[in-house]
Symmetry: C2
DNA sequence: TCCATTTTTTAAAACGATTTTAAAAAACGC
DNA sequence: GCGTTTTTTAAAATCGTTTTAAAAAATGGA
């Protein structure tokens, strides 16, 4: 039933051409301000288009031009603040370049594959993807669409892929170093379960570089959720020999830990210093304000945009790896600079939902 | 330059037809499992398609079928948690129905208009929009695309529009009532600056219904940001006659208020009870855990999906307004459990044992 | 074998644009 | 007025798919 709903269809160049008694070629050229049509005609066409509320059909353009100006972005979840901040940043940049970002959330390999397939069928010109596993990478390579990962792929020859990521090793190193320099001697780490996690290596290396002893018991595994921080802190409270500072794998678990300590009347900072990782908005809702490591969302978005657009428009084949250095954000939770009470005016105050 | 980049193009039905020496009609029908082609042919076509990694071109399908299976969703900002939760919920539902949600953020009328235009040119079949002003509504009406607002439009005959929203009046009423029933007599309200705000009316009406006095000074205006709650609390601390409970227009400002009180060693709850509005994830990061009013994101998403898909697929012209009743989420910040327990203990035992 | 059905296949048109080719119209010189 | 050059426009091809209507092939009955 091709012609059903005709009344809902908009007007086309053909219609304008019919009305003005010119050819569709003239209309097409006039609308794109071609020098090939004389001015009077051009003005007339544009006026009529305006009058009839003409909307160019991007679909038809895409088909003939073999260009969709769309990019697929896959994130694990919208409501994890880090990803929504990234989405915001990426979207803003691509829109400036006239590309449309289509964001889909998918948190398992299966869902990711499904989402990517949907987008491939829609002929997106490229993808921005989270860290994905080697199987997925292999599958993706068979498709012709270029992509940029926003984390470094593991267990693969990473020079085969475009990616942009922050140097988590260095971030954890800086965090640990900050605690050491502030004067803490006994430093624990709330780590990810995964063994060869760069953050963990950064923590350990900093301790080694500053000649400090590594206390196995103080490396507490978790998954990075609020409750992991909470439980980790409770774990610490059970120890005979407690650390006096704690590096956390992310802000959310750091906040969980803070809450657990406060519940038991352990002061943060004072009794224990805590440093997070991400610099996510939640950090400015916490009491004390969270000292953390900034993941540089804006910079990451910048690099992703440049890299992907260059790849698409110049049909670049070489892959590039961009690693961004994270920065320390010193607030209250490590107690080094308590006087600076600017919590209220911090980065993006969050806000009303309407 | 129509044929540039040919090497990047995928293979088409035409190509499959050429290889198998059949017509494109046969290929098209076979791929969609039509009964019109006999099984042998169908299998052959599908095998070949699989082998060549054929990807249907949704663009071409859209053009001929006049159907894009896409919906535009405009939100003010990704990184306000309420909107990302809504996005997640909406996206999930539409994907089940084979629609693609294209989410764009835009926080001013101009940006919204631009975003909507982009999506109109891409021929989305409908929109999901935030509360927009009458000018925008008027402009939108001229376009043929159906839309659903996820808040109630103001200053307009709202029966002209589809919308789905939570009953904020009732939410605020419930929040206030909860405080009253818990035993608080002096209740303040952190309100939006806007005069005829439903939440404010809910607060006032509850006070009236329970025969309580309205203390003008305790109605503190703000914009709903973290800092507004923070500043509002500081305001309260300056008063000679302070409220003993505070209804906040949203969770974020409630958390801001909590922080301000805690800074001055005012206990929440205990010295002052605080109730939020939204039931946003931040509420479970706070200490105390925030008692709040749930905005029912999942239900809102459900209703939006049903309403919009029905409008699109059945070409419904009548507009519908769906109002959802919010629910109280009782956690720690109003201390009701503690009070109730005390109350119950008192009544039952009249006793003075610990 | 032949005709009438039924099943299977296909050519051609359509969707809304862009681009190319070629022809028509206008401008110009002699 | 005619030939040549320049400007403008019309017509046709194209993109990848779906659909219609008609042709071709297979089947069945007499």
């Amino acid at each position: 039933m091709i012609k059903k709903d005709r009344e809902r269809k908009g007007i086309s160049q053909k219609e304008i051409a019919r009305i003005l008694n010119v050819s569709t070629a003239t209309v097409s050229l006039a609308l794109r301000n071609s020098e090939k049509v004389n001015e009077k005609t051009r003005v007339k066409v544009k006026e009529t288009a305006e009058l009839l509320n003409y909307r160019p059909c991007e679909i038809a353009r895409s088909l003939i031009l073999n260009k969709t100006w769309s990019i697929g972005l896959i994130i694990p979840c919208f409501s994890i603040i880090y990803y929504s901040e990234l989405t915001d940043a990426i979207q803003k940049r691509f829109r400036e370049q006239n590309y449309l970002i289509i964001t889909l959330s998918a948190d398992t390999p299966e869902k990711r594959k499904e989402a990517i397939t949907v987008l491939l069928n829609r002929k997106v010109e490229g993808f921005i993807l989270p860290k994905i596993n080697p199987d997925e990478l292999y599958w993706l390579k068979k498709e012709k669409a270029p992509f940029v990962l926003y984390d470094r792929p593991e267990d693969s020859d990473y020079t085969d892929y475009n990616f942009v990521c922050v140097d988590k090793f260095k971030g954890a190193y800086k965090a640990t170093e900050h605690l050491i320099k502030t004067g803490y001697k006994k430093i624990g780490f709330l780590c990810e379960i995964r063994v060869d996690e760069p953050r963990k290596r950064g923590y350990i290396e900093a301790l080694i570089d500053y000649g400090m002893k590594i206390e196995k018991e103080w490396i507490i595994p978790g998954a990075g959720y609020y409750k992991d921080g909470y439980n980790g802190a409770k774990e610490i409270l059970k120890m005979k020999k407690r650390p006096e500072a704690l590096v956390c794998l992310n802000d959310i678990s750091a906040i969980g830990a803070i809450r657990a300590f406060q519940e038991e009347n352990i002061k943060v900072p004072g009794d224990i210093a805590i440093i997070g990782f991400d610099n996510v908005k939640e950090g400015i809702y916490s009491l004390p304000l969270l000292t953390t490591v900034d993941q540089m969302v804006e910079k990451v978005a910048d690099e992703i945009t440049n890299l992907l657009i260059e790849t698409i428009e110049n049909n670049k084949k070489e892959k590039r790896q961009i690693i961004i250095e994270p920065e320390l954000v010193i607030r209250e939770s490590c107690g080094c600079e308590i006087k600076e009470k600017e919590g209220v005016t911090g980065k993006n105050n969050g806000g009303d939902e309407e």
